[in-house]
Symmetry: C2
Subunit: 449 residues, 2 copies
Amino acid sequence: MEKHELVIVGGSAGGIQAAICAQKHHGLKDILVIRMEEKVLVPCGIPYIFGTLGAVSKNIIPDKILGEAGLKIGEVVAIDRNNKTVKLKSGEQIGYNKLVLATGSSPLQPPIPGIDKENVWFAWKNTDYLERLAEVINGTGDIVVIGGGFIGLEFADECRKRGHKVTVVELLEYCLQLVCNTELCIRAEEALRSNSIEIITGDAVKSIDGTGRAESVTLQSGKQIKCDLVVVGIGVRPNVQLAENAGLEIGVTGGIKVDEFQRTNDSSIFAVGDCAEKYSFFNGAPTPLRLASIATREGKIAAANLFQPQWRNVGTIGVFSTVLGNTAIAVAGLTEAKACEMGYDIIVGEAEAASKHPGTMPEAHPMRVRLAFCRRSGKIVGGCACCTHTVGEVANIIAAAIVNGMTMEQIAMFPMGTHPWLTASPLAYQITDAASNALHKAKNIASVS
Amino acid sequence: MEKHELVIVGGSAGGIQAAICAQKHHGLKDILVIRMEEKVLVPCGIPYIFGTLGAVSKNIIPDKILGEAGLKIGEVVAIDRNNKTVKLKSGEQIGYNKLVLATGSSPLQPPIPGIDKENVWFAWKNTDYLERLAEVINGTGDIVVIGGGFIGLEFADECRKRGHKVTVVELLEYCLQLVCNTELCIRAEEALRSNSIEIITGDAVKSIDGTGRAESVTLQSGKQIKCDLVVVGIGVRPNVQLAENAGLEIGVTGGIKVDEFQRTNDSSIFAVGDCAEKYSFFNGAPTPLRLASIATREGKIAAANLFQPQWRNVGTIGVFSTVLGNTAIAVAGLTEAKACEMGYDIIVGEAEAASKHPGTMPEAHPMRVRLAFCRRSGKIVGGCACCTHTVGEVANIIAAAIVNGMTMEQIAMFPMGTHPWLTASPLAYQITDAASNALHKAKNIASVS
């Protein structure tokens, strides 16, 4: 029987990163990655297949990234923990010393009447499926996107670029509400609406109607939207059947339970990425965040801990960004609503300035930062930035501040660098100024109470 | 006699920021800023006057930034510390309770024969002077720039954009050598050379020749360069005469000596910005870095400490960035040469990946990061990034890592966010991957020794 020092089940972000880091950290050569897909998609690139990139083939992670790890295409259907083997659908058995589960997630399929119609599509991470969707979309007309999260909005924006009339339906009051402060939600919606995308919020889909094919979508409000195609992007559920069948514990958000070293309740088995339970950096509680950037981090951590616990996963912060129309938005850490819900007494500081300096530099645009701090400790708990294309890295500065527990004083004094072409002025650098603004408010509150 | 709670001498970055923060932090209304200039230039914007911006008037900091602080145009010629007054050239005396000196710096004028010719210019922060230079440059031909530091190179690049033939002469082996790793120096030089700027390094200017006007520059090597105008940008000296005359102590790099709260040896007098001595974040030793971003930080710190020590200046890291041609470069912390000189045993990690992901996204370009770590502590001591326009903020992420003493393990596990339009792939994010690369090297060294 074939046997490997390390077997990784799943070949997307988390699995790949585990394979890379196991080679780097342990010099492990005897690694086998088993995955179902012939080719692996760049997960965050999926919406761009339908607009900017124009083809599935432009959104593939090349297998050479796996280095010297072996690769087998197949479906693992069972884990025998006693004999430390996995069984493939083909019947083949493969032994492991250490096993990393990176089985990912699948699109949620809400129980809406008509959801099974042939022209209702999901963001399956499968090249064949998405190639068919790309083909179908090319010849189609109006599109309804169910779900105003990142995937839904990016998908809507890309289809709009190809000339489709697009309507987004979101259950909550705002799109992106679970991950962004209201201000950013509004900016995101405005960016899309200004490009003629219709956005309906605070309304649910009651049914997808039509004879055979979906021809319209009916909302709870009674509103009907005609369409030629429906795309559903309301979230994912972790793929944990394999783990569950093997007796591995499952967490409250539905992921495989892991400790701070990414170990499951079987010390030879690790879980990373969308299939693994996440825990909040802030209070250690389970949190439903699922992102490729989180998956790769967990892959690294698991690889470092294979033979002895070395790296502790201090928890998930949640760092997101996107570009809708020409509006970039980014967030790191807790939204203000979430922070309040968790019991924080927060103080919010904000600052806006031209993205270049002086503001007369070409293509200088307003750039805003909002930071939320715990009033008692002074520590940053979250922040967001918009609307220029540096905000992805600005969110990473905020993430660095969060992970290091920086206070409003420390951030106000942060020794940032600035340059006319690349940043705001040193007199108006948004991150430090937002911290100063929070300090100022904290002082005023303190002097009143 | 007029008297103010706070008098600030100098109205550029450091003075302005002190005025703003004294209002914010102490609710101080009784502030007077005394400066020599009618209008204040954006210091880092000066080179752009001569190309991108096209006019001095587009590079002015509006006085409204001073808020409720008073403003007086005049030259302070003496400080009477016993009576706590400053004396203006006009003879007027003004009393202070607290005094902030933000007198800035002046261009160094090397003792080169011919340096005093009328068409030899310097980067004086003076609107009239620069307006005259802008006028003269418009009608001129070939330009020699003496000094291959940031100001010199940016000036050269801007003049090139206006169609001038430009030659840069740098004494050291590479341009930017004192602040950048060799790799970045080479990229900067390549960016300029590819735009037909001639760069001569490792050669000094022996004389500036011509009858009356500068007509050519003769180098130590014997080489002669014909020119119609010379610009000198070899650095600055702090303006400390006023402080020195008042008996304030001067540091070894020529700045006004300050403690960690920006106080001079007179506890009523603070110094900030280019006129103040800087101390290294790494070992507390005096360091000759002078930047507007450092000045504004010191302005904030001084303002917070006016009435009692509150904020400690933990020292200067040094965060720089620029764009030459279309090549952006950025650095934070120690160069590798400087770190070695200071006694660090360093390990360098590097990583390169497309700036967007997948690499098939429009306008994805290679982006590189190099990070240097202290081998013993594992802590980051410096880093640099090139060549895309997000590197200014990437250097600030590196600065955040430095100021928080992050180790290679912590940076390798850093919970960055990624997005196709805004950053590298989560599988190839340069900062985390450079840290992983350093870890890998550290491990190999450890296993050998």
